[in-house]
């Protein structure tokens, strides 16, 4: 009987293995769904193994692209004009290099000014990889827990909000972009001070949720962070309203906005380590002064 059982087990062992592996994946999914976190040690270990490769590849690709851009037009030179064109190429290269240096300098100066102006408790990080799937929106950056980065921290750039920290490893971090379906940022429309939640909509677009129908918003209005929830300081630009729809019934209206940051071309970002002291809006400042005078 036991021998027979053994043969039956051998016969169905592959089937049992398939079921167990699929069940394991499902259990992992349900654990993540309940706790909103994965197997943290294992996640961090795998990220530590894979991210240096990403970093190296990004560097190689950038270098190759730059070289390609510089020299591709010089491949089919005419023999007669070789000397002349070579000279032009050299000059072009020098100009390109000088322009690149100037652009990098401008960008870094802007970043430094932004950092000094807002908070010293921000760290700069480089984007080393994009989301491998097309359904979700995230990037990998080269700073992690060892640099003080923690889950939920805000990630910004001088142009505005980028997203928040989703997963961390000792030296690398995954950042959930504001365009992801899972992202939500408490915000206000700068002109009318109407409150809403900015949620990701996938295709480099976000939507304003819970925006009251009675609020007057128009295309072109700027949306900024409210500073009420999460780690985002008040007044950071989120994006510009591109579409408003009051059709249909209900308490809320629909509005769509384009993020102020070009999330497809991210290179450097800032992670806010501590909440920045909230800057007071000029209108609010006037109102406060008015109240004081009345008192």
């Amino acid at each position: 009987m036991r021998v027979r059982d053994f043969f039956l087990f051998r016969r169905y062992s592959l089937f049992i293995f398939i079921i167990l592996l699929l069940l394991f994946a499902l259990v992992l999914m349900s654990l993540r769904a309940q706790q909103r976190k994965g197997v943290e040690f294992f996640d961090a270990l795998l990220m530590e193994i894979c991210s240096p490769l990403q970093k190296t590849f990004t560097l190689v690709i950038k270098t190759a692209q730059e070289t390609f851009q510089k020299y591709i037009f010089l491949v089919n030179l005419d023999k007669e004009n070789r000397m002349l064109k070579q000279r032009i190429a050299e000059l072009q290269e020098e100009t390109t290099r000088a322009r690149e240096v100037k652009l990098a300098f401008d960008r870094l100066r802007q970043l430094l000014q932004f950092r000094e102006k807002n908070s010293p408790s921000m760290i700069g990080a480089e984007v080393i990889g994009q989301d491998p799937s097309s359904w979700f929106k995230s990037v990998t950056i080269d700073k992690g827990e060892r640099d003080g980065v923690k889950k939920g921290m805000a990630v910004i750039s001088p142009a505005g909000v980028i997203g928040q920290v989703l997963k961390t490893a000792p030296h690398y971090t995954t950042v959930l972009l504001i365009t992801d379906y899972n992202s939500a940022v408490d915000s206000i429309v700068q002109r009318t001070r109407a409150k809403a939640i900015v949620e990701g909509k996938g295709e480099n677009r976000c939507q304003l949720k819970y925006l009251l129908r009675t609020e007057e918003v128009a295309v072109g209005d700027v949306v900024v962070t409210s500073g009420l929830a999460g780690n985002f300081p008040k007044g950071l630009m989120v994006g510009e309203i591109k579409k408003v729809d009051k059709k249909g019934h209900g308490v809320f209206q629909y509005a769509e906005l384009a993020p102020s940051v070009d999330l497809a071309k991210l290179e450097e970002v800032f992670v806010i380590m501590e909440p920045i002291p909230t800057p007071v809006h000029p209108q609010e400042e006037k109102a406060k002064k008015g109240k004081k005078i009345k008192k």
């Binding site: 592996l21 994946a25 994965g38 990220m47 996938g202 295709e203």
Partner: protein, 174 residues
Amino acid sequence: MKRFFLLLLAGILLLTLQTTWLSSFPVQRIRPDLLLIFTLYLAFLFPPTLGGILAFFMGYLMDLFSGNTFGFYAFSRTLVFFVAQFLKERFYLEGFSFQCLFAFIFTLLEGGLILMLINALESIPVGNLYSSLFTFLLPQSFLTGLVSPLLFFFFQKAGSLLFRQPEQGINARG
């Protein structure tokens, strides 16, 4: 064991390519899913235990570097692997067009599965996601299908060199 780690390394390299080089193209969102093609290759040529665990790892890695908080890919890639294993002996899979079609269908089916899982677990209105079916899932599936014969050929060559085994057609048993 050596085989397992070499294949895992190959998977990590493909993931790196997918997150860096393929993402540097202007149409960033529409890119072939190299890891899915690799999973299909594993299903065609490797035994269920080794291939199944590798497919699970490929999905796990996808989850790790994506904004997906639940781990959909660990499940979907394992499922794709076993379904492909089940089907490989029932269909003729040699030749450019059949391989293209096979990869195209699997990319579409996996997209549909992910869509259902997102809808079930993340309470995102499906209407928002339906537009993605035509704007990126179809082109992406087409591109994945188009690239797959080339990658299968490359994987087979690399496999025969690395594991010092005679080249097999993808219909051969693993």
